[in-house]
Amino acid sequence: MTRTIAGDWYPGVIPDNVMLADGAFVETTSSFSRFRSRRPKALHLDKNSSAYAGCMFDLGPDATVEIGPWTLLNGVWVMADSQIHIGAYVLISWNVVVMDGHRAARDIAARRRQLESFALSRDSGIFSCDGAGQTPRPVTIEDNVWISFDCCILPGVHIGTGSVIGARSVVDMDIPPYCLAAGNPARVIRNLDAKDRAHG
């Protein structure tokens, strides 16, 4: 069955391999205009999670992305070629990029070949790694994390439960649970007090 969204300005559909649990909300199908995953359950939006306009699920052919319950994505670019896991009660602000890899080859000659073959085919219209890019590394954002606007979460990063990432941070290494991290590159600024923790 073809799934569309009532009142959607974008003439798209929700792909069949996008799983929407009860109460999960997607504002517009433009979020799937770069969706190319062929995995059976490529994107799972758990119950009462939400993906507002501006979100982009830029998933390559082998990507799987899980969004936990009650998690709110307000204009987030999720760029995946392996796995990205976002937990429950996570809040992610606008223009945040969560990426699990670099699609461009590191070697300049290989990158030129990628760009030449892309210009010739443009099958999906989207520059993708074609096996020539760098090996993706899964990203995990645990429960109760809050990421402020314009941040970049880079390949292989793991952000622990309850942590907060300040605006415009670039997170290139793991962030432990229950701390405040910010900066470019991001550093832990302080730990959050036990009384700030949801589960003590």
């Binding site: 205009s33 770069r34 990029v97 990158r111 030129r112 989207i126 970049c152 670039v170 470019n184």
Partner: protein, 189 residues
């Protein structure tokens, strides 16, 4: 953003008279040329086999932008008040901004005049001079998502700009920079 149409140079219709494009170049996004104020027939020159997916140009009255062959730019904002020159085989990720100007004067009094000149119900006087310096991005450069390239910056051939970098200084050929402000760094694997 939609997927690139293989049959049309620009999915927004006829190219504006200020834009020249080489063979097999594809441009996507109805907002692409909305803020081109230059009237010259070569205000924006794009080479062959290049993909501009959701790129927006702001080109001032006397400004120019050139982009080479086999480039791929996704959701990039290019704001030029003098000259932005991008080479061949350049890859630029989403949410990147390239600007060759400060947009507004640093001097507070001049900035008040600029605020009034910019207002739609303002004085209609010409805007005061704003600092601008050409930006050059040489061949084979990779610019990660969320980076900003500021005025006067020259990025050498094959350089690698980490995601989220604020690039305020020149980057040598083959160099790698990251951070805010961007500094030389070891290139991550």
């Amino acid at each position: 953003m939609t997927t690139i149409r293989p049959d049309a140079v620009w999915d927004g219709g006829e190219l504006p008279p200020t834009v020249r494009v080489g063979v097999n170049t594809r441009i996507n996004g109805s907002h692409a040329f909305r803020r081109i104020r230059a009237a010259a027939p070569d205000a924006l020159v794009v080479g062959a086999h290049t993909t501009l997916d959701g790129v927006q140009f702001s080109i001032g009255t006397h400004a120019r932008v050139t982009i080479g062959n086999y480039c791929c730019l996704t959701a990039v904002v290019i704001m030029s008040e003098c000259l932005i020159s991008i080479g061949d085989y350049v890859l630029i990720g989403f949410n990147v901004v390239v600007a060759d100007s400060d947009f507004h004067p640093l001097d507070p009094a001049a900035r008040i005049a600029d605020a009034m000149a910019c207002s739609p119900s303002g004085t209609k006087l010409p805007r005061p001079a704003v600092a601008a310096a050409p930006v050059v991005v040489e061949d084979d450069v990779w610019i990660g998502p969320g980076a900003v390239i500021f005025k006067g910056v020259h990025i050498g051939r094959g350089a690698w700009i980490a995601p989220g970098s604020m690039v305020t200084r020149d980057v040598p050929p083959g160099g790698c920079v990251g951070g805010n402000p961007a500094r030389p760094m070891e290139r991550p694997t």
